[in-house]
C-alpha cells in the first residue's frame, strides 16, 4: 500500500468501516510511516472532538413540551371531525365558538385535562398503579387521567364523570385513558354521555375511533378478513399459500341521542345520528345502519346518570 492509498483509507479505519484484510494492511503501513501515523492521529483527534461536541443534552422539559405539542396536534385533528357546515348567518358565531372550543381544548390538553372522578362503583373494579404496575381497587371519589387503565370485574359497574361528561362501564370492561377525554376500549362496553362542547373519544386497538356528542353505547365486535393470494418471485414458480383468517376487535357505536363522528383507521369519516349504529369494516371503512333495538344501554340505568 502506498501513502496515498493509506490516507484514503484512514477515515474508514477510524470509523470502523474497513474489512479485516485492508485494515491489517493499513496498520502494517502505519508502523513504518510516521507521516501517515500523524495523519491517522489527526483524524482520531477530529473524530474525538466531533463526538465530544454534542452540545445539547436530553431534557425533561423538551420531552414534555414535545408530547404536549403532539397531543394538541392530535386534538386539533380530532376537533375538525364534529364541525358541521353552517349557514352564512351563523359563520361569525360559529367561528367564535370554534375558537373558544380550541382555546378550552388547548388549555385542557396542556394541563393534562380535567380528570375523571369515580362517582359510583359497585364492587370489584381495579386500576393499574402507574408506579408499581400493580392492580389496585377503585374507590368512589378517586380521580383518573391520561395514562390510567381501569377494569371492572363480573358484576361490577362504574360511573366516571368529568365536567358534564360521563363514562359508564359495564361489567367485565377494560378501558385505557390514553389522553384527556380519549379512551381505548380494550374489552366490554361503555356508555358515553357527553355534550357537544365536551366530546369524548373512544377508539379500538385497530385504531377506529368514535367521537361522542350525545348518549352513545360503545361496544366491541369481532370482524374477520380472509387473506388469500399467490406469492410470485421472479424466476420461480408462483407459490399459493393457504388462505388465513385475520380477526380484529372493532367498535360498534349505538346512538341513542345526539351523534357520533366515526373516524376509520385510515381517516375515512362518517356521521351516525340518533337511532343509528356505526360500525367499521375490516379495512377501517365506517358504515351506518338503523338500530335494530331502540333501547340503548339499559344496563347503565342502575348507575343513575342524567339522561
Amino acid at each position: 500500500m502506498t501513502c496515498s492509498d493509506v490516507r484514503k483509507a484512514l477515515s474508514g479505519l477510524a470509523l470502523g468501516d474497513l474489512d479485516a484484510e485492508p485494515a491489517a494492511e493499513v496498520h502494517a503501513h502505519l508502523k513504518s510511516c510516521p507521516e501517515c501515523r500523524a495523519e491517522e492521529a489527526a483524524i482520531g483527534r477530529t473524530l474525538g472532538a466531533l463526538r465530544r461536541a454534542a452540545p445539547v443534552a436530553a431534557s425533561t422539559e423538551r420531552r414534555s413540551a414535545a408530547v404536549s405539542a403532539m397531543l394538541r396536534a392530535h386534538g386539533d385533528q380530532a376537533e375538525k371531525l364534529l364541525v358541521r357546515p353552517r349557514s352564512v348567518a351563523w359563520i361569525p358565531l360559529a367561528a367564535a365558538a370554534v375558537f373558544l372550543l380550541v382555546v378550552v381544548a388547548a388549555l385542557n390538553l396542556r394541563g393534562g385535562g380535567t380528570p375523571f372522578t369515580v362517582a359510583t362503583v359497585t364492587h370489584g373494579a381495579n386500576f393499574r398503579d402507574r408506579e408499581s404496575g400493580d392492580w389496585r381497587p377503585v374507590l368512589e371519589g378517586m380521580t383518573f387521567s391520561a395514562g390510567d387503565r381501569l377494569v371492572t370485574e363480573k358484576g361490577c359497574k362504574m360511573r366516571l364523570t368529568s365536567g358534564t361528561a360521563e363514562l359508564l362501564l359495564d361489567e367485565e370492561t377494560e378501558v385505557d385513558l390514553v389522553a384527556p377525554r380519549r379512551f381505548t376500549l380494550e374489552a366490554g362496553r361503555v356508555m358515553a354521555v357527553a355534550p357537544a362542547s365536551e366530546v369524548l373519544i373512544i377508539s379500538d386497538r385497530a385504531n377506529n375511533g368514535v367521537r361522542v356528542a350525545g348518549r352513545v353505547e360503545v361496544s366491541l365486535r369481532e370482524i374477520k378478513a380472509s387473506v388469500a393470494g399467490s406469492k410470485e418471485v421472479k424466476g420461480q414458480k408462483p407459490v399459493i399459500p393457504e388462505p388465513t383468517t385475520l380477526i380484529k376487535k372493532s367498535i360498534v357505536a349505538r346512538v341513542e341521542k345526539g351523534e357520533v363522528a366515526l373516524d376509520g383507521d385510515r381517516g375515512q369519516l362518517l356521521r351516525a345520528a340518533a337511532g343509528q349504529q356505526g360500525t367499521f369494516t375490516f379495512g377501517g371503512k365506517p358504515e351506518t345502519a338503523p338500530l335494530e333495538d331502540s333501547r340503548v344501554g339499559t344496563w347503565a340505568d342502575e348507575l343513575g346518570e342524567g339522561r
Partner: protein, 208 residues
C-alpha cells in the same frame, strides 16, 4: 440479526399504532427514543439553538399529522429524521429568502439572483459561536463543519450525532450506501484537515 430487525419492525408497528390512537405514553416513548440525537442533528443543521428546539417540537407535530403516510419499509427513526431534515431545509430556505429580500431592498443589483440549494445550506449553518456555553471542541467543530460541502456534512452529522446506519442515511439522502460511506469518509478527512489548519494558525495568531 434478522429476527432482531423483525422485532424492531414489530416494536415500531406497535408504537405507531398506539401513537395513532393519541396515546400520550406512546408519544413519550417515541420522543425519548430519538431526543438527543435528533436535537443535536437539527442544531448541526440549522446552527441556532432556539430554532433547533422549535424545529424539534415541529418535527413531532408533523409526525402526528402524517402518521398515515409512514411506510414500514423505512424505520421509524429514519422517517423522523427525514421529517426533521425537511423542516430544517425549509427553515434554511426561508431564512435565505428573508436575507435575499433584505439585500434586494439595499441593492437592486441583487435582484433576479438565483438561490442555489448548496448556498442555502452553507448560509444556514452558521457556527453558534455566540453561545456562552459552547465548549472549545464545540466551537471548533461547528466552525469547521460549516465549511464542509452540505451533502458531506449532512452525511457525517447523521452518522456521528444521529448514530444512523449507513443504509438509513442512504435512504434519507436517496443515494447508494457506497456513496454515503464515501461522503462520510471524505467529510471526516476534510474536517481533519480544516481543524489541523486551525490548530496551526492559532499559535501564530496568539503570538502576533
Amino acid at each position: 440479526m434478522t429476527s432482531g430487525q423483525g422485532e424492531d419492525m414489530n416494536d415500531d408497528e406497535d408504537l405507531l399504532r398506539r401513537c395513532a390512537r393519541g396515546d400520550a405514553a406512546a408519544y413519550r416513548e417515541l420522543v425519548e427514543r430519538v431526543e438527543k440525537p435528533l436535537v443535536n442533528f437539527i442544531l448541526r443543521f440549522v446552527g441556532e439553538r432556539n430554532v433547533a428546539e422549535d424545529l424539534f417540537q415541529e418535527t413531532f407535530v408533523r409526525v402526528v399529522k402524517t402518521l398515515g403516510s409512514f411506510r414500514p419499509e423505512a424505520s421509524l427513526t429514519t422517517w423522523i429524521f427525514t421529517i426533521a431534515r425537511n423542516l430544517s431545509l425549509d427553515w434554511l430556505k426561508a431564512k435565505r429568502r428573508h436575507r435575499e429580500m433584505a439585500l434586494d431592498a439595499a441593492s437592486s443589483e441583487e435582484k433576479g439572483r438565483i438561490i442555489y440549494f448548496k448556498d442555502v445550506l452553507r448560509s444556514g449553518a452558521a457556527a453558534p459561536e455566540d453561545r456562552a456555553e459552547a465548549t472549545e471542541d464545540e466551537r471548533r467543530v461547528s466552525a469547521n463543519l460549516s465549511k464542509l460541502s452540505p451533502i458531506k456534512r449532512e452525511a457525517l452529522v447523521l452518522r456521528i450525532y444521529a448514530g444512523l446506519q449507513y443504509s438509513e442515511i442512504a435512504r434519507i439522502q436517496n443515494a447508494p450506501v457506497g456513496t454515503v460511506k464515501f461522503r462520510i469518509h471524505e467529510a471526516l478527512k476534510d474536517l481533519s484537515q480544516l481543524m489541523g489548519a486551525g490548530e496551526d494558525r492559532n499559535p501564530a495568531a496568539q503570538g502576533g
